[in-house]
């Protein structure tokens, strides 16, 4: 985290756990489902000891059955419960897409509004753990392509908590992509119940020379880069997109109108990743007229995530990549 204060700090994982704890204490209908979220505490320790407080009936270890598990969560959500379903790794959600996309996302519409499906799903995503191609993907663009779903990507502990609590209050299915590498990152997290609005981006740093729109872990890399750029006289505005469906058009466009330059940074494969939508959204808006330079995207390489740690780093954007892109973009501006 970039804002060090003497306020209470929690890790991103702790913040998520606290949100679940608050929700479960308040509302009997909230249950947790997932693989090894009970005594094991979750593959990334996110559920931790919640089973001790709420018991096996509310912190349910599922069999290794992602499709069925997701579907049970959907059915439970239609009939009175508020399940939070954890995919152990977001990669395994490829097994559950049927229930997510054909059922959770569409049931309300197909049924003419007769029911809502208030299910929350959590997807630990991203690379950086040396777990190779089948355990490191960032597939949030898939669900962000699907009407009926809401999709968020918290970048800070405070938002991880606030967005999860907002998701639980939302009557519709909310998909939460959490970055595994952020789980241990600390930051200030307010006590008690609060929500971070779904659908609102956050301006993390104001600047006038160029706009960096980033998601998840890239928000922190962008902020790092912005500090360095500042020393070079380049004043970057950094926006944490936070919600990728529905996207916060207004915040992004306002920034681009101000700076005239845009770079989008995201870890997912570049082609058809979230930055493609940010770019296209700007390019078709009135903000187009304010653009002084091409819209740059920094996304993951067109490549599965490799195992070797140096290769693994090479396939996702790093701070030097952002610096280079920003410097090129700023040329002629300052």
């Amino acid at each position: 985290m970039h804002t060090k204060t003497d306020l209470r700090e929690l890790s991103y994982a702790e913040a998520i756990r606290e949100a679940m704890d608050i929700a479960m204490a308040q509302d009997e209908r909230v249950i947790l489902m997932g693989e090894d979220i009970g005594v094991y505490g979750g593959a990334f320790g996110v559920t931790g000891d919640l089973i001790e407080k709420y018991g096996m009936d509310r912190v349910m270890d599922t069999p290794i059955s992602e499709l069925g598990g997701a579907g049970v969560a959907v059915g439970a959500a239609m009939t009175g419960l508020r399940p939070i379903f954890e995919f152990q790794f977001s990669d395994f959600a490829t097994l559950g897409m049927e229930q997510i996309v054909n059922q959770a996302a569409k049931i309300r519409y197909m049924l003419g509004g007769a029911v809502s499906v208030p299910v929350v799903m959590r997807f630990p995503s991203g690379s950086g753990t040396g777990a190779a191609a089948q355990h490191s993907q960032s597939l949030e663009a898939w669900t962000a392509h699907v009407p009926g779903l809401k999709v968020v990507q918290p970048a800070t502990p405070a938002d991880a908590k606030g967005l999860l609590l907002a998701a639980l209050e939302d009557p519709d299915p909310v998909m939460i992509y959490e970055h595994k590498i952020l789980y241990k990152m600390k930051g200030h997290v307010p006590e008690g119940h609060y929500t971070t609005p779904i659908g609102k981006a956050a301006v993390m740093r104001e600047g006038k020379d160029l706009t960096i729109v980033a998601t998840a872990i890239m928000v922190h890399k962008a902020l790092d880069a912005a500090e360095t750029l500042a020393t070079e006289g380049i004043d970057a505005e950094v926006i944490d997109l936070r919600t990728i469906r529905p996207m916060d058009r207004d915040t992004v466009l306002a920034s681009v109108r101000k700076t005239g330059r845009l770079v989008c940074v995201y870890e997912a494969v570049k082609t058809l990743g979230v930055g493609a939508e940010v770019s296209a959204m700007v390019a078709e808006s009135d903000a187009f007229d304010y653009l002084d330079a091409p819209i740059i995207r920094l996304g993951g390489a067109e490549c599965p995530i490799p195992y070797n740690p140096e290769l693994e780093k090479a396939v996702v954007p790093q701070v030097p990549d952002i610096l280079e892109a920003a410097r090129n973009l700023a040329k002629g501006r300052i």
Binding site: L81, L111, G112, G113
Partner: protein, 344 residues
């Protein structure tokens, strides 16, 4: 089709069929009426399709009425069902309003899904019908979820999950039955084995002879019954519902039946013989039900004709209602994507 549940309370003296012993005359006549309603709803649907009043496709369950109605006999409006692409029968059996069904079929705002869902998605949550499903096997995990809610919230509700023989080869079947048993949930899996998934016979698609044999893999009771015999269906499903209600967990019931029509409107029936179809048509579940009622003096021939006439009238009214209904407004097309409209 021999095996039955070991657990069953109702005793049927003097070989009286289960349904006769268990249900009142009114209940039985109501059941027969529902069977007629299903038949006539689908005949009407087919006719509307032929006359070009409906676009899309439809999956008719004509010939399977005993399975739908028999399986819902002991369910209340609190109990849930999940249904399939071939779901009109389940919908009627669970108490749907025929006019709103037809209106949906016609894509009208007055339909159950406001014209957004059509034949394949008719639902009536107010009656416990969580909806038909266009995805084969899609309803299986959802049914388990509904049963989980019932158990956790202590509602006492049971969920009956309808699915076809074809669906039994989906991974969702396996995962759903396993979880239902592991968590001991109040759900009854009702497989309507009409011998084909589209064109593919169970012999060519399914490694076991009886689908209920797969219950062993989930340590739950499994039974195969004559799905055209209303009483046999009700007997098996009622027993399973009772087990579920008592907290004894899930069961699998296989109703062996047959669809008289093709899979959908594009079916040329190349995969089965005329003889096979004729043979099954000679075992009409509605005729059998009518005979059951007359044989046991529950209803006279006249009363039965009256029930049928009632059903005909209801369907006529439903078609009239549907025909008159307004189309959805195009500017409202994105309504109900989300519960609270979002700007986009």
């Amino acid at each position: 089709m021999g095996r039955t549940f070991s657990v069953r309370d109702t005793v049927t003296p003097n070989n009286t069929p289960y349904a006769i012993a268990r249900y009142s005359a009114d209940e039985l006549k109501e059941a027969l009426k529902k069977m007629y309603l299903i038949r006539k709803f689908e005949e009407g649907a087919e006719d509307s399709y032929m006359r070009g009043l409906i676009h899309g496709t439809m999956h008719l369950s004509i010939g399977q009425e005993a399975s739908a109605v028999g399986s819902c006999m002991s369910l209340s409006d609190e109990d849930k069902i999940t249904s399939t692409h071939r779901g009109h029968g389940h919908c009627v059996a669970k108490g749907a309003d025929l006019s709103r069904m037809f209106a949906e079929f016609f894509g009208k705002e007055s339909g159950y899904c406001k014209g957004r869902g059509g034949s394949m998605h008719i639902a009536d949550p107010s009656k416990g019908n969580l909806g038909a499903n266009g995805i084969v096997g899609g309803g299986l995990p959802i049914a388990v979820g509904a049963a989980l809610s019932a158990k956790r919230l202590g509602t006492g509700a049971v969920t009956v999950c309808f699915f076809g023989d074809g669906a039994n080869n989906e991974g969702a079947f396996h995962e759903a039955l396993n979880m239902a048993k592991v968590w001991n949930l109040p759900v009854v899996f009702v497989c309507e084995n009409n011998k084909y998934g589209m064109s593919t016979s169970t012999e060519r698609s399914t490694a076991v002879k009886n689908i209920a044999d797969r219950a062993v893999a989930y340590a739950m009771p499994g039974v195969t019954v004559d799905g055209n015999d209303f009483s046999a269906v009700a007997e098996a499903v009622d027993a399973a519902v009772e087990r579920a209600r008592k907290g004894e967990g899930p069961s699998l019931v296989e109703n062996v039946t047959y669809r008289w029509r093709g899979h959908s409107k594009s079916d040329r029936n190349r995969y089965r013989t005329k003889e096979e179809i004729a043979e099954w048509q000679s075992r009409d579940p509605i005729a059998a039900m009518a005979k059951l009622l007359t044989d046991h003096k529950i209803a006279s021939e006249d009363e039965i004709a009256g029930i049928e006439a009632d059903a005909t009238r209801i369907i006529e009214e439903a078609i009239a209602f549907a025909t008159e209904g307004a189309n959805p407004k195009i500017e409202e097309v994105t309504r109900d994507v989300y519960t609270q409209e979002i700007a986009s």
